[in-house]
Symmetry: C2
Subunit: 454 residues, 2 copies
């Protein structure tokens, strides 16, 4: 796997010079990452943007660590034969038209695998978007090149089976609310390289702290779950084809066979994998673990701080859905809270801070309440509801985050408000280890993941 | 109720001239809606922004249809006595500090109710944000006045029990993705006016096509469900305090008593109410019905059009979760689809349009596919996945919407992409009756609501 993610010299078979074509995006992305160490191949072109283009891979005057293939499916076997002759040991086939496209495609895919096996060549794909090494700024994918700017380095690595959806969706999610990524792997039909091999690599990868997977099928499940159990790194899985209807759709897409979902579900649970049900949830939980940057704590007594009784009720319902508890605050914490509340009010968890704000102002109310609950030995985690610019000004989140980190108590903030302010607060707080979500249930879901443990 | 929503001459007891105070927002909002027919009352002020301010309601030299009260709780009974003396028959108490604030508040609330009963005065609140008549541009609420611009007239009426959360959240939801509203009612502790009375009014209100409710408790349930069954207008309900933890939190918030959620759930189902589980879902389903502008159809065979096999699988899983079906396309529809697909591919539902785009271009592929499936007698509804600006250009949605409307087949679009383009497409398509959602499961949820029927 390392040779895929850290290849030094690469070729692109199927480079295009037409800016609207995926083959051009691939060229542009790989050119940005490898420069002179990228060798474009296309028999119809002499050069692309001043870079010499080679008729075949055999004409390339350098050893190649990794070739990316993006040509029509029927031409791929010949290109692979040439890669084998050239002694290339790693190939990513990003073209579609294989097992997902009927019996002819299945045969073509088998033929590719045979060529690779005979040459001791490892194959990635086909029908995928390749890989991105965010830390090293290498994009071996035909995603639109302007999306490169969306990626910021971090600790979350993603493995996705479906190409189109994941890359496009990822780009828009990142544009909306960026979080730090390490490696992104789109593995498509996974004729050779599969999620279990990737998991093996990522579990040991020092640049990866959190692993998030989108899968339509699971290969070598036994080894997969062994790996999950072997690591402290949080693993989050979105498995499509859960239902009969979904499994039918998956069969025609990446030719995946259905698996018994109940058995799979039990296995996920037993292995401590956080199971999620859509892409948004996958990214939410991944970003939360990325910010928290530590394993799940396994302790479930939550203090809820809101500025609205209604939010408190809905948060309590949602916490209950995830098997969490509402902490009974200890006397010392209640005494601390009372200092900012009106005399007539006995504060209790969930804490509605509105009366405290009326009496003591938002900054003091929030700061005092946060310090009281985060230090309360009867509290394991804190859920905070705020409105940007109205109720977030003035509180010393750096101090709170330091205490929370020391006591291993995750904090999650559900923040509403003006989009620009929400983005600014998210950036600031997530750098401190406090995930920021923008819907009540999404915030609770993230907190549940951070506290549930195994 | 009509006298609340269509009051001509109003008073504000507790008007403030300080721009940061809720009492000022109330003044500003009511002033914008009523102008000279608003009479501000505050014994400490002579005028507010050039408008004369009266020491008490008894000094106001006009008959008053409706008084809004926003003064400290302990002073409210005296103000009510004066309203009674003045012959005012409708009063909204927006102040907090009543039943939600302990035994003293409970007593105060009872006292207010007694005064009102003796005077045959109807009370709205306390502990609420009042009402908004979007069609007539009347805002009788202390929400920040710049939020007034977020409201656009439409057919959805909202009833919310919790003030703070709903108004703030509503404003941000509307800023993010506006949809048309008719009336908004925040009823708080509902000492007199309750959701059932409001429902009675809204069911007959010609300006209301869709009714969405956020409730922490349900008063007069029998009559409530009778009304739900009596109308074709879609009714959507978010009930907080579903779980034991939530019910506990609700008790301390609006002093609501817990209700058996299983019984409630069966009643919702029996009465054809769409039950939802958070605010985002409440607004999603409401906006979908607002756009569709017709009752749920009750037919569940869905055609799915995507540009990504992965999206198809996840959509199928989600449709299955909501009890929907994947339509088996009829031969004539398949023949129509084939015209845009490559020869090697037999199109089937869910339809992955990517090969058709490769062959025929996005506009023709989408147009042909949409026409084929929407006219297929084996299809009851259509779920479309698009990416703004890439896969939405060129298709004649107006034509498709007309056919869909005639055949009573709801279409929902799950659209990803650049935020500004997403907003533009949403505006355009929702005006045509096609709801646009921006997450796969949120789109499926909306479509399920439109098709499930009773």
């Amino acid at each position: 796997m390392k040779r895929f993610f850290e290849a030094k010299t690469v070729a692109l078979i199927g480079a295009s010079d037409r800016a609207t074509r995926p083959g051009y995006h691939l060229f542009s992305n790989m050119n940005a990452g490898f420069g002179e160490r990228l060798y474009p191949v296309n028999p119809k072109l002499v050069e692309i943007e001043g870079r010499r283009c080679y008729p075949t891979i055999l004409d390339v005057p350098s050893e190649i660590d990794l070739a990316v293939v993006f040509i029509p499916a029927r031409s791929v076997p010949e290109a692979l034969e040439q890669c084998a002759k050239k002694g290339i040991s790693r190939v990513i086939i990003e073209s579609g038209g294989f097992a997902e496209a009927g019996p002819e495609g299945v045969a073509l895919q088998q033929k590719c695998l045979q060529i690779a096996r005979n040459a001791e060549m490892r194959l990635w794909g086909p029908n995928c978007m390749g890989l991105i090494n965010v830390i090293q700024k290498k994009v071996l994918s035909f995603m639109r090149s302007h999306w490169r700017d969306s990626f910021i380095p971090g600790t979350v690595s993603l493995v996705v089976q479906s190409g189109m959806l994941s890359a496009g969706f990822l780009a828009y999610v990142l544009a909306d609310s960026p979080f730090g990524l390490s490696k992104v792997a789109s593995i498509g039909n996974k004729v050779d390289v599969d999620e279990t091999e990737l998991l093996e690599y990522l579990v040991d990868d020092p640049d990866t702290g959190v692993i998030a997977l989108y899968l339509e099928s699971l290969e070598r499940g036994r080894r997969f779950f062994e790996l999950c159990r072997s690591t402290d790194k949080p693993i989050i899985a979105l498995k499509a084809g859960r239902t009969d209807l979904g499994a039918q759709a998956a069969r025609s897409h990446t030719a995946s066979l259905a698996q018994n979902d109940e058995i799979l579900d039990a296995a996920f649970r037993h292995a401590g994998v956080v199971r999620v049900y859509d892409f948004r949830e996958l990214f939410d939980v991944a970003r939360a673990f990325g910010a928290w940057n530590a394993p799940a704590t396994g302790r479930k007594r939550v203090a809820v701080l809101t500025f609205s009784g209604g939010a408190a009720v809905l948060a309590a319902d949602s916490l209950s859905d995830y098997g969490m508890q509402i902490a009974t605050l200890s006397e010392s914490a209640v005494a601390e809270l009372k200092k900012v509340f009106p005399e007539w009010m006995e504060p209790a968890n969930p804490v509605d801070l509105y009366p405290a704000i009326e009496r003591s102002g938002p900054a003091q109310a929030l700061q005092q309440a946060l310090e009281a609950v985060v230090q309360d030995p009867a509290v394991d985690a804190v859920y905070i509801h705020t409105i940007s610019g109205i109720y977030t000004e003035g509180a010393d989140f750096e101090r709170i985050a330091t205490i929370a980190r020391r006591l291993e108590k995750p904090l999650v903030l559900w923040n509403m408000g003006d989009a620009a302010m929400v983005a600014e607060i998210r950036r600031k707080l997530e750098a401190l280890g406090i995930p920021v979500l923008d819907e009540i249930n999404r915030g609770v879901r993230a907190l549940a993941a951070l506290t549930r443990g195994r």
